[in-house]
Symmetry: D2
Subunit: 145 residues, 4 copies
Amino acid sequence: MSDPGQTRADYAYFQPMTTRWMDNDAYQHINNAVYYSFFDTVANNFLIEHGALDIGKSAVVGFIVASSCSYRKPIAYPAKLDAAFRVNRIGTSSVEYGVAVFEENVTEPAAFGTYTHVFVERESGKSVSIPEKIRSALELARVTG
Amino acid sequence: MSDPGQTRADYAYFQPMTTRWMDNDAYQHINNAVYYSFFDTVANNFLIEHGALDIGKSAVVGFIVASSCSYRKPIAYPAKLDAAFRVNRIGTSSVEYGVAVFEENVTEPAAFGTYTHVFVERESGKSVSIPEKIRSALELARVTG
Amino acid sequence: MSDPGQTRADYAYFQPMTTRWMDNDAYQHINNAVYYSFFDTVANNFLIEHGALDIGKSAVVGFIVASSCSYRKPIAYPAKLDAAFRVNRIGTSSVEYGVAVFEENVTEPAAFGTYTHVFVERESGKSVSIPEKIRSALELARVTG
Amino acid sequence: MSDPGQTRADYAYFQPMTTRWMDNDAYQHINNAVYYSFFDTVANNFLIEHGALDIGKSAVVGFIVASSCSYRKPIAYPAKLDAAFRVNRIGTSSVEYGVAVFEENVTEPAAFGTYTHVFVERESGKSVSIPEKIRSALELARVTG
């Protein structure tokens, strides 16, 4: 990917995220795993807000098959954050998101990465073509290079 | 409760629990909230092992309505722990558990507390009389004073 | 305690808290242990904002020795929450907080409980009289019945 | 990387990990972020056991600058897991680990990925050449293709 998401302008959707005392680990920074929790929260927030996901009822849901993160600057509770989201690529049954975490009022991300959802039938776990309602929502967050 | 669960002999069921790097918070001890994760894990482990809970299928499940913990001694990752479980009281639709965390090979608990489950229909969330299969499992862990 | 903290008016300090996808457990509600993470976050937020705690530097810090929670109504991600805080009792070296979680725009708490901090020297872990700077901050959140 | 760590034989070090009730998210599988918690636990377990890390005292510690995971098969609490670890590459101040999670008695990983530690002075956060004691420990887990 030629554009790794280095500024706020590279993203389509933002959500504020509050940090928690226990997010800081023994090195007094937010633990690396917690970033993925910000990432899947902003992705699901986007889907829910755009009518593409009902957590309890949707017959088709996104399962994560791959994720990655580059950590650029340590951050620590009680920081206030903005999680950022965009769609990098849409395939037949999968989509790659670009995700990032910014400190409030900071332009460069503290961390950024990717998430890949494969859409599956919730009951069977089998992959399916992305339903049109979800696809059209995802198109709204597509950022073209 | 006259017997607050001060030794291993006060409990009916034990499960080893591994700790995780991120369990330690900024003070380099296992965060207070993580103990409750040990507690509900040992309680659910007991129910699952005794045929009283199928996470995905049981029509009746336990919802937690109250919990408490007394912390006696700080512990830290990479400690190996034993979580302990017993039944304090069984009512019509609810049960109070006694729960504790011990460091491996240590007799006094690092922390101990209580958990109260109300059994509800999963779909409606309405409380029900404890089904016989669950009640008979719980009786196995009842510790009488 | 005659007043268990049943309305927003019972609390002295509030902080918005965002929820996360992974807060929901297999029953699709916010897991019981996560509430304690809201509780210690609002308590530490209060201390930090009032100059009573520097996470990395304070020589005297609060260790939790007891906690409890009553859960009144299940809540689920993506709910937006307000965590609430007050001081119930101040002793020589310890303080009991009243804490609660409210859904946005809801008057009754989804859950409420208590947290007891003992103040200790960070290095030795030995309890100390509550330093004057901390005590005067705590007095600001004391709610009298 | 030509060898993505597809079997237990690809790893040098294993640690059993217990799962927790709250690891399962609303889809009743272990949440994607939790895998990273297994990963940094097994990496730090290796360093601690080989005398390369004292969490509270080491002057040089590893900060994570990149991580990735491929998820192959959903797993769920109450699964018992083995976390696996190896060293992929050692540089001047950084090291890339290969990490994986296997279900007990299963040969193929449920998930596998990479973790990159940069070694820094704890106080300043500045990167340093990997100290000899740490480097010689890491060499023990190097798996050559």
